[in-house]
Amino acid sequence: MSATAAGLLQIVLLLVLLAVAFRPLGDHIARVFTSTRHLAVERAFYRIVRVDPEADQRWSTYLLSVLGFSAVSVLLLYAILRLQDLLPLSLGFDGMAPDLAFNTATSFVANTNWQSYAGESTLGYTAQMAGLTVQNFLSAAVGLAVAIALIRGLTRRRTDRLGNFWVDLTRAVVRVLLPIAFLFALVLVAGGVVQNLSEPHDVTTLGGAVQSLIGGPVASQEAIKLLGTNGGGFFNANSAHPFENANALTNLLEIFLLLVIPVALCRTYGVLVKDKRQGYAVLAAMAVLWGAALVAVTAAEVNHSGTVPQAAGASLEGKEVRFDVWASALFANSTTGTSTGAVNSMHASYTGAGGGMVMLNMMLGEVSPGGVGSGLYGMVVLAILAVFLAGLMVGRTPEYLGKKIGRYEISLVALYILAMPFALLIGAAIASSFDTTRASLLNEGPQGLSEILYAFASGANNNGSAFAGLSANTEYYNTALGLAMLIGRFTTMVLVLALAGALARQRPTPVTAGTLPTHRPLFVGLHSVTVIIVAGLTFFPALALGPIAVALA
């Protein structure tokens, strides 16, 4: 089979898998968050943490719960990382330095999983499991909860209540993430991904040197790493490492896992707003962005005009030969289109156009299809922006799903749009200004600027993938990226929940022929164009000096 045919076949297989999972998973998630029953294990948990699961929270209370819970998570994880030498199964590693521990703790709690360290030479099994894997579940569950709260804001009428964060969080973990992660951990083990708690194996290489190979509870972390759009690898090489991603089959499964919840949430959305077409419209906009980027990345990587790639038939530097160019491009596009950030190839080695494209995927605000929960709420916020412009053009006060978009609502949307570029551009501008911060760069010129832009795009958008090349384990990058991750994750959540609160207060306007239809192809087009224009206009100058200059060279 030719590389092209194999590549296309993989894409088709992936789409089939997603299509099969779409309805059952989407419907299941909708049921999870509307059910009035509590499972025994959940009830026990509510008793332990002493929350009343029947209490319905205002948006402000919901928000305080999100922020309080996340703050405690950061502190706990920070403590585990700093004190890991005192923990069992530490493999003899020391505690992390303060700036690195801050960066890592915020990174995993903010669902970013940016790693300024190499897992196999920094962390023991306890820190990996009790620290990182736990946050892989919890941070994804928080994102899911916030998305559900926004949907409640859109569907509820004349109320100030958005549901109960603790119930949403618990159900997201117990009924959605745990079962699927468990199932796919087993599948990955069957596919060849390692899962053990053994001491490192010493092996003698062909060259005669002795190499110490670390195994560990990889598969269990791998499943949630992808399912929760986390992306933090057990090993430094992430999904390019054969222990994390054994072969083409596990590769496809991993891509499926990182896409499946963000995609299925569109179904959940349609079910919960009682108009499935709205869910399909959001999905279509996501698909347009993901598909267009995939074509661009793949084309850039397959048809490279450089001398070496011409000889090799494609741009292969930094890619696993096991996965070839098509599977690498598919993975790269999906991991940056979701806020996962796991990698099976080194994005820095991509062509200027391909590398710029995966960077742009993040700069779009992680909405194609985005992270667990965050992709959906990001896309809904952008739909509201599109509705605002388009709604004026049909001569009505703009409204989305019957809720009017007035001064307060558009202010929140505007701040949401502002938050991420703020963190990204300021952080990157400082990094490019000083000799000390520029010292971390591997390359000079536009490729060097791409390294900086990529790092901050990854942080501010909670993606977590690294461009490679940038030595990010310095005080500036650890701190600045940590802050970018917090801003990118939590200021947006504040705004989304405030928006949900404002929408829930309204009485919906009934749909008439004068209502702007938000489920038709025309709106899907406007929605996608809005996403591209907002990001394009914000980042074009910076991109011109980075990846565009590389691509045109």
Binding site: L389, A390, G391, L392, M393, V394, G395, R396, T397, G402, I405, G406, R407, E409, I410, S411, A414, I417, L418, P421, F422, I426, A428, A429, I430, S432, S433, R438, G445, P446, G448, L449, R507, P508, T509, P510, T512, A513, G514, T515, L516, P517, R520, L522, L526, V529, I533, G536, L537, T538, F539, F540, P541, A542, A544, L545, I548, A549, L552, A553
Partner: protein, 700 residues
């Protein structure tokens, strides 16, 4: 001739619903370039930073202009001076847009102010008249006004009836009747009594009269930003911040790349990116929207009401005067007892010659149109005695010289006349009369006395006639998502017949004011916005409850107070135009915002390669317009950015073309024209400007 079954009738007798977008009385939207010159001093005065603060986008441009001017002085070059001058021109053009819009209103205000001159008022105190100045009148004062005098203040007629010339306010030269009691009692200060004597109770405080408010409104002095305008301003301000962020952080990236930019270039980039087009035109669009209403003789009490009009979901329309002609008309002649139809027509015409009521005229018209009977003039019938209609006789007719008499009138009256003249009413006539009444019409019986023998000829069927083109209008409204509800005092059978004929979506029969109120509340409870017209005091609560309440100028002061708009023409059909103006206002804002943002794409392609092709020559590939030099490229973008504001002033004042379409169709059209157009136009525009600019020494 009274119409027993109908609700109160409007005084308005609009002959035909004006077609959508018909030319208004005042030349709406006609844009005279001379206005630009005339408004220039105003535009310069608006450069005051305190006034610029109202528009955050243009304020940023003004700061940029000051900044570049300082730079041009300290480090002069052809390029920096050109940029500085064009940034000032950009600000000036924005002010010009607003000044022109305001100037048009001011011209109208001047005319209005002429009516506000001091007039002596004859105030009644305990029945004794004393002459005071009109400005000293306060609430509750009673004043006497006689023929030839100007009414000194707004009020209600409490005694007498008079014909009043209101042309100063409405522009309509035909005098109108104002009388005490009922729904035609309101008079406006500054209008002139033409006949008779009335006593007026003053209902407005000094300085708050109708004309005062109208002046404030058309001058834009009392204009406050509307909710949508504020929301849009928020969005524009945050876009400005985003672009500020993009430009400020660009300098470190440029420094890293070894191509630090001059501050002039950065300011130019910022001004080109921020949404100056819509920022400059936003307030002009708002003023012009109000202006368009005024030109259609509608006075909105707030901009909020105009916006709400665009959002309306339900229109409550009174049947009489709005959907049907104010008076019933003859639609058919039904002979009885074997009478020839032509003979009936002849008699009916004869009997109606002296009847000058619209109903009477309609009989003559029907006889001519359907039976080819030439209208006879009273002079053609020598010796004839015409019997006028009176409320007592309820009949009209003619006694010819040869003793032949013809009568036409209410069934009971004519039947009694026949009996009195020895005739025996045919039994069949009762059936026909009942049949007409059951169909919602009014039967008029025609009888004649010939050879001393009275007998019945037949029945004239008077019916409500739906105005021409109403069905199409309601179809359009339906396509726009607006439901029409006909409100009538008729019984449900009649109401249904007319509702079906007119094509309204729903009707409210035997409607009392409370029913109207309940209907509005019910619709609003479902999240819908309701618009209605009204003129009577008993309409006031419903007018106040409705989201858009248009009071007729002929109505009572209470109605005018309760509504949020007043229609000076008192044309209830205008509600539809008001909705369209409201929509047009929002569409214009949305379209120009989209256009403004779409423009940025071309500006990037002009400026970014100009800035960085020195550092990275490969970026010259982005210079797809092949602009001559970096300086000419940046200057061209700045100049285009300024010129597009002036180019769009006429559009902002006129409003974008509006056709009643479904939201989906409208979006498609506007997204194509202003979205796609907004992407393409600047590529061409900037290239053209560049061709000129590159000829300047030191730039090209």
């Amino acid at each position: 001739m009274s119409d027993p079954g109908s609700e109160r009738t409007h005084t308005v007798t609009t002959v035909q619903a004006p077609p959508a977008g018909s030319a208004p009385r005042v030349g709406a939207g006609l844009f005279d370039p001379r206005q630009l010159v005339a408004s220039l001093p105003d535009a310069v005065r608006k450069l005051d930073p305190r006034r610029m603060l109202k528009s955050p986008v243009m304020f940023v441009v003004e700061i940029g202009a000051v900044f570049t001017t300082v730079l041009a002085i300290t480090d002069p070059s052809t390029f920096s001076w050109w940029i500085a001058v064009w940034l000032w021109i950009t600000v000036l053009f924005a002010n010009l847009a607003e000044a022109v819009a305001e100037g048009r209103g001011r011209a109208q205000a001047a005319t209005l102010r002429a009516t506000k001159q001091e007039t002596p008022a004859r105030r009644l105190v305990d029945g004794v008249e004393q002459v005071v100045s009109s400005s000293s009148l306060t609430l509750g004062d009673l004043v006497v006004v006689e023929a030839g005098e100007v009414i000194p203040g707004d009020g209600d007629v409490v005694e007498g009836v008079a014909s009043v010339d209101e042309s100063a306010i409405t522009g309509e030269s035909a005098p109108v009747i104002r009388e005490s009691g009922g729904d035609r009692s309101a008079v406006t200060g500054g209008t002139k009594v033409l006949s008779d004597r009335i006593v007026v109770e003053i209902t407005a405080k000094p300085g708050e009269s109708f004309v005062d408010r109208m002046i404030a409104m058309v001058e834009g002095a009392s204009r406050q930003k509307t909710p949508n305008e504020i929301a849009l301003n928020v969005l524009l301000a945050s876009l400005t911040i985003i672009f500020l962020l993009a430009v400020v952080t660009l300098q470190p990236f440029a420094g890293y790349s070894g191509g630090l930019q001059s501050m002039i270039v950065l300011v130019a980039l910022l001004v080109c990116l921020i949404p100056t087009t819509i920022g400059a035109l936003l307030s002009a669009i708002g003023i012009a929207g109000m202006d368009r209403l005024v030109q259609r003789n509608v006075l909105a009490m707030s901009g909020r009401a105009v916006e709400a009009a665009g959002d309306v979901n339900v229109l409550l329309l009174d049947k009489t005067g709005t959907i049907t002609f104010g008076n019933r008309q003859a639609v058919e002649l039904l002979p009885v007892g074997g009478v020839d139809e032509a003979a009936l027509a002849d008699a009916a015409q004869l009997a109606s010659l002296a009847d000058q009521t619209p109903e009477g005229r309609s009989v003559v018209v029907l006889a001519k149109q359907r039976y080819g009977l030439r209208e006879r003039h009273t002079g053609e019938l020598p010796g004839a005695t015409f019997v006028e209609f009176t409320a007592q006789t309820r009949m009209s007719g003619v006694d010819l010289a040869d003793g032949h008499q013809v009568r036409k009138g209410a069934a009971g009256a004519v039947l009694a006349w026949v009996r009195d003249h020895g005739g025996k009413p045919d039994l069949g006539v009762d059936t026909v009369v009942d049949g007409v009444a059951a169909a919602g019409g009014t039967p008029l019986v025609v009888a004649e006395l010939r050879d001393d023998q009275a007998h019945i000829l037949g029945v004239i069927h008077l019916a409500d006639v739906v105005k021409h083109g109403m069905r199409e209008r309601f179809d359009e409204l339906r396509a726009m998502g607006i439901r029409t509800v006909m409100v009538t005092g008729d019984n449900p059978v009649t109401a249904k017949a007319i509702a079906d004929q007119a094509g309204v979506d729903d009707f409210l029969a035997e409607a009392k004011p409370e029913d109207k109120m309940a209907l509005i509340r019910r619709e609003q409870g479902g999240g819908r916005l309701v618009a209605m017209t009204g003129d009577g005091t008993n309409d006031a609560p419903a007018l106040a409850q409705a989201d858009v309440g248009v009071a007729m100028n002929t109505g009572t002061s209470a109605a005018k107070e309760a509504g949020n708009m007043v229609d000076l023409d008192s044309d209830p059909t205008k509600l539809i135009e008001i909705v369209e103006i409201g929509k047009q206002l929002l569409i214009t804002r949305g379209a120009l915002t989209t256009f403004s943002i779409a423009n940025d794409i071309a500006k990037y392609f002009a400026i970014i390669p100009a800035m960085f092709a020195v550092v990275y020559p490969q970026l010259d590939a982005l210079n797809i317009m092949r602009l001559a030099t970096p300086q000419s490229a940046i200057l061209s973008a700045v100049i285009f950015n300024a010129l597009i504001i002036v180019a769009l002033i006429p559009l902002a004042l006129r409003g974008v073309r509006y056709r009643p379409l479904s939201a989906a169709a409208m979006l498609q059209r506007n997204a194509l024209v202003y979205g796609l157009g907004g992407i393409v136009v600047p590529f061409i525009g900037i290239k053209l400007v560049d061709l000129l600019v590159s000829a300047i020494p030191g730039i090209g």
